[in-house]
């Protein structure tokens, strides 16, 4: 069959320079089916990925209201961006919300995964139940959350009242807003991460635990010296994923505190600021400049993540391998 022949040729390439030009051209044509086979991705990426990316760079150098002629402004948008307090604040806000949501979420997710991993009844039911928030509409959830955190009649304030704490105006207080947004992110992603951790836990071989038991390790020692180190790759995956999601926080803020980001811009994340400038204020040039600012922040985080993963594993679990 032709396919096998071709594969053989690929496996044993010869230097094309040694062939006459016509043979080299024929050889190039022989690869055409493979290029064709992988082309859909590249064609789609060129249209929907690469083109918009480079077009946004072009836009960032212009002033454009979305319809009329584009006006060349050079680097003016970037000059504004780097002196724009709101943009710097939005970076800080994004990072604060990311930390406030990721750390509790990871701890909770591990605890839930441990629970789901132990032999309990209705395991499947719990797994589905914890995953449901992840596929629930954020806008619907935001209605529930704005009711929970409502200052006037929120459930949370009612519960605080039961233990004698004065009501807190969650959604008008800058830290309250950050807590509410983080709570929503935690609620939405804790189940997803618990399922990932559960898969990681189930991949840890049982004999490791047996060895730990033989060595006389208690449940805590086993968790910190066996489970956690072996869960490290999964943990890293989850942190990287949450960093990707965390840098793009948008919907939760928008639905809870609106396009302007609420009092003191407490909920104004980078992406929300970008959306506001480009799509609400019709300033597509400046919006594009903000998106390149976000890109730089993401690059910095990608490098940090990469360094974390590349780090040689100095702490190979003792007594396990």
């Amino acid at each position: 069959m032709a396919v096998t022949d071709a594969v053989d040729t690929v496996d044993a390439p010869t230097a094309p320079a040694a062939l006459p030009p016509s043979a080299a051209r024929r050889r190039r044509w022989r690869y055409l089916p493979y290029y064709l086979a992988i082309s859909p991705f590249f064609i789609l990426f060129a249209i929907f990925g690469a083109y918009p990316i480079f077009y946004s760079l072009f836009l960032a150098l212009h002033r454009w209201d979305g319809v009329g002629p584009k006006q060349w402004v050079g680097l003016e948008n970037f000059a504004f961006l780097f002196t724009d307090d709101t943009f710097w604040n939005s970076i800080l806000t994004t990072l604060v919300i990311w930390v406030m949501s990721t750390i509790p979420m990871t701890v909770l997710a591990i605890l839930i995964a441990l629970g789901l991993n132990s032999s309990i009844r209705f395991q499947g039911l719990y797994r589905v139940a914890y995953f449901v928030p992840n596929v629930t509409s954020v806008v619907a959830a935001s209605l529930v959350f704005s009711s929970i955190f409502s200052g006037e009649f929120g459930i949370l304030n009612w519960l605080l009242g039961l233990v004698g704490v004065d009501p807190v105006q969650w959604l008008s207080n800058p830290w309250g807003i950050k807590i509410a947004i983080s709570a929503m992110i935690i609620w939405r992603w804790v189940g997803y991460n618990a399922i990932i951790f559960l898969a990681g836990l189930q991949a840890i071989p049982g004999d490791v635990y047996e060895a730990a038991k033989v060595d006389g390790a208690g449940p805590f020692r086993t968790f910190f010296s066996v489970t956690l180190p072996l869960l490290r790759p999964v943990l890293l995956f989850s942190v990287v994923m949450s960093a990707i999601g965390g840098l793009q926080i948008f919907t939760e803020s928008q639905v809870l505190v609106g396009n302007r980001g609420g009092p003191d811009e407490a909920g104004l994340t980078m992406v929300l600021y970008f959306y506001n400038e480009a799509f609400i204020n019709n300033d597509f040039g400046y919006g594009a400049a903000i998106s390149w600012g976000i890109f730089l922040v993401v690059v910095i985080f990608a490098i940090i993540n990469w360094r974390l993963i590349q780090r040689p594993r100095r702490d190979t679990p003792k007594g396990v391998s």
Binding site: V67, E152, F153, P263
Partner: protein, 428 residues
């Protein structure tokens, strides 16, 4: 037919070939439905009954409609910048001024005979749809005249003036309203007469004949009138009159404000007429207890929309006839009854169907209050940057009110942000 690899590849190849032929054969049409006249309007932006009648009436013109749930503006901008699938008739919001610099995308309605019906509509609204150079872009749909909504029962219970005319007399100016509020709060502690500082600032500005730019597009936002509105908002805050609900920055989304309506914590508020529907829906238990009267400081307008005809529309005259029919004074009255959109045609204010006593307002004929307010609005030029500027000031007021920011600092920050914004846009 069984699906083998060969048949699948043949079918896929055939489909791809056809698709290529199809795109090569005809480019994307410039209008949304070639041959037809298409109207894009946002949900609840017109009365569906009136629109349905128009579809029947203008069947010969192939009149079609699309209701755009969210983001009509984004879709319109995308269609216009791509010059494809542009609706023939498009609804524009109260940010119509941001389209003035792109008037080449639209048809000047004055060239289609709009001037003939000009007298049937409120002059200030007509002017708002016309660019400073006289290009008429938008035909008036609805408006948002402001009034003071207040709790008749609670005013009365506290022994204060409670009938609309009496209240209007007592609170004729903002200062008088604040004085009244301080006294009323002594009688009814823990309740509020003003939603937030944003309300005071926004409606104070709405009452003025000039805003941030004059019609020659020169910036006048550094004049004393902005500072006056700002100081007034701070005054209300310092006197403890504002409730400052979270989320009231997003009109319609504040669950706290809805709760305050239900519990009677919000004794009164200044708002445009479009809040009535939300008030009825969110606080049905307070039916009969509300009244409206002239707003402190006088008439003002917030919000309102327009219909426009885009440049590629093949039959602009037919499109204009549809618009003129949809928005005729009689149909505006019907639209108000169906969808609560306040008419921009004064003759609708005296339509007997709109002068029925309303049980929710204790039998008051609210049209008398809102109609008067609508007629008294001063014409003002609304620039493309007004919404962004106003949002900047109200954001800083909110920072003072809810976060405790120093007012002097907030004012300086607002001024600085506005200046930077206008510099970035190349206006100053």
């Amino acid at each position: 037919m069984t699906l083998t690899r060969r048949t699948f590849l043949a079918a896929a190849g055939g489909a791809a070939g056809l698709a290529t032929l199809g795109t090569a054969g005809c480019a994307s049409p410039t209008t949304a439905n070639p041959g037809a006249l298409t109207l894009w309007y946002s949900k609840d932006g017109l009365s569906t009954n009136v629109v349905d009648d128009a579809i029947g009436r203008f069947a010969d013109d192939k009149f079609r409609v699309s209701i755009i749930g969210d983001g009509l503006k984004h879709r319109l901008l995308a269609a216009m910048s791509g010059n494809a699938y542009v609706p023939d008739i498009a609804m524009l919001g109260d940010d119509i001024a941001s389209y003035f610099q792109d008037s080449d995308q639209f048809v000047d309605l004055n060239t289609l005979g709009a001037a003939d019906v000009k007298d049937e509509y409120l002059p200030w609204k007509w002017q708002a749809g016309t660019s400073p150079s006289g290009f008429m872009m938008g035909f008036p749909i609805d408006i948002g005249p402001s009034a003071l909504y207040y709790r008749h029962d609670l005013f009365k219970q506290a022994g204060f003036p409670s009938e609309p005319d009496d209240v209007a007399t007592v609170v004729s100016t903002w200062d008088a309203y604040f004085e009244f509020g301080v006294e009323l709060q002594k009688a009814l502690p823990g309740r509020y007469l003003i939603t937030d500082t944003k309300t005071v600032f926004t409606y104070s500005m709405a009452q003025l004949p000039q805003k941030y730019f004059d019609r020659q597009d020169s910036y006048i936002g550094d004049g004393p009138h902005v500072r006056e509105a700002w100081d007034r908002a701070l005054d209300a805050y310092r006197r403890g009159l504002t409730a400052g609900y979270a989320g009231s920055q997003n009109p319609g989304d504040s669950v706290d404000r809805h709760a305050a309506w239900n519990t009677g914590k919000e004794l009164s508020f200044v708002n445009a007429s479009w809040i009535t529907g939300e008030l009825k829906q969110s606080a049905p238990g307070t039916a009969g207890k509300w009244r409206v009267c002239r707003s402190p400081g006088g008439a003002g307008n917030q919000g309102g929309s327009f219909l426009s005809i885009t440049k590629n529309c093949p039959r602009p005259q037919a499109a204009f006839d549809i618009i003129a029919w949809l928005l005729s004074p009689e149909n505006q009255a019907r639209t108000f009854l169906d969808a609560g959109l306040f008419p921009s045609s004064p003759s609708a204010f005296t339509d007997p169907r709109l002068l029925e006593p309303e049980p929710f307002f204790g039998g008051q004929v609210t049209m008398n209050v809102f109609g008067k307010s609508a007629s008294d609005v001063k014409p003002a030029y609304f620039s493309p940057y007004d919404i962004a500027i106003s949002d900047t000031y109200t954001d800083e007021l909110t920072n003072v009110e809810l976060v405790g920011k120093d007012p002097g600092q907030a004012w300086n920050d607002a001024r600085r942000t506005v200046t930077r914004l206008l510099q970035r846009k190349g206006v100053i």
